[in-house]
């Protein structure tokens, strides 16, 4: 319980530091929301008025405190750019899309790479290992957006397996949304699959060579029993850490792939909002993404402790 509380405080501190970093960065970079909203022929008065409306004319400290007080009450304000929506409404339409995409990629990655990695370790040095190894070497080297372009051309335009840009939002048609997101999810997953396979294989192998495994074998235990009973459990500890790191990368990877497949998720929202200087949206999206990653790390820590008691004692 104490541990959870401690982690929660850490989360708050992390979010606080990040909100300050984002805020400061936004005050340093040129341009503001009023400019991008009003465009090229705006009069200075109109710009000044809009800046006042957005509160951009106030001193920086006051603006931050204003924002923080509201944010603490769960009110992230109004988007500068999407004038008809509050930030919370905007995020609640965009976040699920990215989460679904990331979850699908993660599912594909885990389903494919753990069995392949173990297979590869089991047949270490023989043909299945060599084949898997060589395939992953190559797939690891393909950038996901390049893969996205290729998938679009082959399956979207060539074979017409999916309609390019035929995205539907999850609240209108969840199944349709999921089936549209499959190709983007594959594009995100393939390069990561290769990395995780490699990691699983190495982790299992280094575990197999340890003394306790040799001891287990020498005691006459069955190979599969050793593999599942001891090796897998211990080998999975670094794998879990690695997969958690991959989750952060999947989120970032989704940001880029959303651009390629024109999916209105967090990534596109973030990139458009940065270029529109839509500060309330950027601040809230950054905090959301950060919170998700921190919570994942926290869960990993707990799994880590359950799996490996040594951490707890140290």
């Amino acid at each position: 319980m104490k541990y959870v509380l401690k982690k929660f405080i850490t989360l708050l501190i992390t979010l606080f530091v990040i909100s300050i970093l984002t805020f400061t960065a936004f005050s340093v970079i040129p341009g503001d929301a009023a400019l991008s909203k009003l465009g090229i022929d705006a009069s200075p008065e109109a710009i000044a008025e809009l800046q006042q409306q957005y509160g951009l004319d106030k001193p920086i400290l006051e603006r931050y405190v204003d924002w923080a007080i509201h944010a603490l009450q769960g009110d992230f304000g109004q988007s500068f750019n999407y004038t008809r929506m509050t930030v919370s409404e905007l995020l609640s339409t965009r976040l699920p899309v990215t989460v679904i995409l990331a979850a699908m990629s993660l599912l594909i990655i885990v389903l494919v790479s753990v069995p392949l990695g173990m297979l590869s370790a089991k047949f270490s040095g023989r043909w299945p290992d060599v084949l898997i190894n060589q395939t992953t070497q190559v797939t690891m080297a393909i950038p996901s957006f390049f893969l996205g372009i290729i998938l679009t051309v082959i399956f979207g335009i060539g074979l017409k397996w999916f309609q390019v840009g035929g995205y539907v939002s999850p609240d209108k048609d969840l199944l349709g949304c999921i089936s549209y997101l499959i190709f983007p999810a594959i594009a995100v997953a393939i390069p990561k699959i290769a990395m995780v396979v490699k990691f699983v294989r190495n982790s299992v192998l280094s575990e197999i060579n340890k003394d306790y495994v040799r001891t287990a074998y020498s005691k006459g235990n069955d190979e599969n029993q050793v593999l599942y009973g001891h090796v897998l459990r211990n080998a999975m500890i670094p794998v879990i850490t690695f997969v958690a790191m991959v989750v952060a990368e999947i989120l970032t990877g989704s940001l880029v792939i959303e651009q390629v497949f024109n999916i209105p998720g967090m990534g596109r929202l973030l990139i458009t909002s940065i270029s529109n200087r839509d500060f309330p949206v950027v601040q809230a999206s950054v905090l959301y993404i950060t919170a998700v990653v921190v919570v994942i790390n926290f869960i990993v820590d707990i799994i880590y402790q359950i799996a490996d008691p040594r951490i707890r004692t140290s």
């Binding site: 850490t10 501190i13 992390t14 530091v17 990040i18 970093l21 984002t22 960065a25 340093v28 970079i29 040129p30 190894n133 070497q137 190559v138 690891m140 080297a141 393909i142 950038p143 996901s144 957006f145 390049f146 372009i149 051309v153 390069p191 990395m195 490699k198 990691f199 190495n202 280094s206 670094p238 850490t241 790191m245 952060a248 990368e249 989120l251 970032t252 940001l255 880029v256 651009q259 990534g267 973030l270 990139i271 940065i274 950027v282 950054v286 993404i289 950060t290 990653v293 921190v294 790390n297 040594r310 951490i311 140290s314």
Partner: protein, 266 residues
């Protein structure tokens, strides 16, 4: 009778030839890397222009040669920054623990959870665009993964018998870290570095794809890919060559690390 280390040999050959290719590209290219031509716009591969020409009629081979150098530079320096700082912070925090560990791990978590696109974008907006700014931004992004890996391993090793006996024999803390513990991490380091190179090349390509990389008309493989996307139907070769070279660079790096790992194992 020792088996030949194919991974290492093939990796060395690929990386070596690409390095040579890129190095030549810095001093000599078959055609100018910036000269445009209306007549050669989207020209298909031919004897004169073996990779064809891009949407402004520039020779793709020349641009790939030169852009390849940029990619190598970014990847190597980025991983170097991540590796050096990662090992220092990771080893110290893992070994000593305490408040230093807490602060650095907190910073680490913050960096890990900060969306990299945003970090790079803000970095670039504040300090300006350019090759070296991208390296700096990506380098910082790469530190946490090394810190995490090194710290975890150091914690694993520091309670083990050989460390305890080294301490009994009077070895100092720094000696224990650098002489007794770190050499054990070579394999994990190489794996992480291989993934690091891989990620660095991918990150440079993604950033350039989003328009955050080098300034035009300087070629970069990622930027060429994003430019190629709009003419993938008229000039598919434009997308293929930079893509293939990116794949080869990463392949070369990972084969080498694979080979090195095999070497240390045997």
């Amino acid at each position: 009778m020792k088996k030949l280390n194919y991974s290492l040999i093939i990796g060395m050959v690929i990386t070596g030839s690409l390095l040579l290719f890129a190095l030549i590209g810095q001093f000599w290219t078959p055609y100018s890397i910036t000269e445009t031509s209306v007549a050669l716009k989207n020209a298909a591969p031919s004897m004169e222009h073996i990779m064809g020409c891009d949407n402004l009629g520039r020779d793709i081979l020349s641009r790939v040669m030169n852009g390849c150098g940029t990619t190598f530079l970014v990847a190597v320096l980025t991983v170097a920054i991540g590796c050096v700082f990662g090992v220092i912070f990771g080893a110290l925090t893992g070994f000593y623990g305490g408040w230093l560990d807490k602060i650095i791990m907190r910073l680490n978590d913050i960096l890990l959870s900060f969306p990299s696109v945003l970090l790079v974008l803000i970095f670039i907006s504040v300090i300006g665009k350019g090759k070296y700014n991208i390296i700096l931004a990506l380098g910082i992004l790469f530190i946490p993964s090394f810190v995490r890996m090194v710290r975890g391993e150091v914690i694993r090793y520091k309670e083990q018998e050989f460390v305890k006996s080294a301490r009994v024999l009077g070895a100092g803390n720094l000696r224990i870290i650098f002489v007794h513990i770190l050499p054990n991490l070579t394999v994990s380091m190489l794996t992480t570095a291989a993934i690091g190179f891989n990620n660095a090349v991918l990150a440079e390509a993604s950033m350039s794809y989003l328009g955050l990389g080098v300034q035009p008309p300087e070629p970069s493989l990622g930027r060429m890919l994003s430019e190629a996307q709009s003419c993938v139907f008229n000039a598919p070769w434009y997308a293929i060559w930079p893509g293939v070279v990116i794949v080869l660079i990463i392949l070369g790096f990972s084969l080498i690390s694979e080979g090195l790992r095999k070497m240390t194992e045997s």
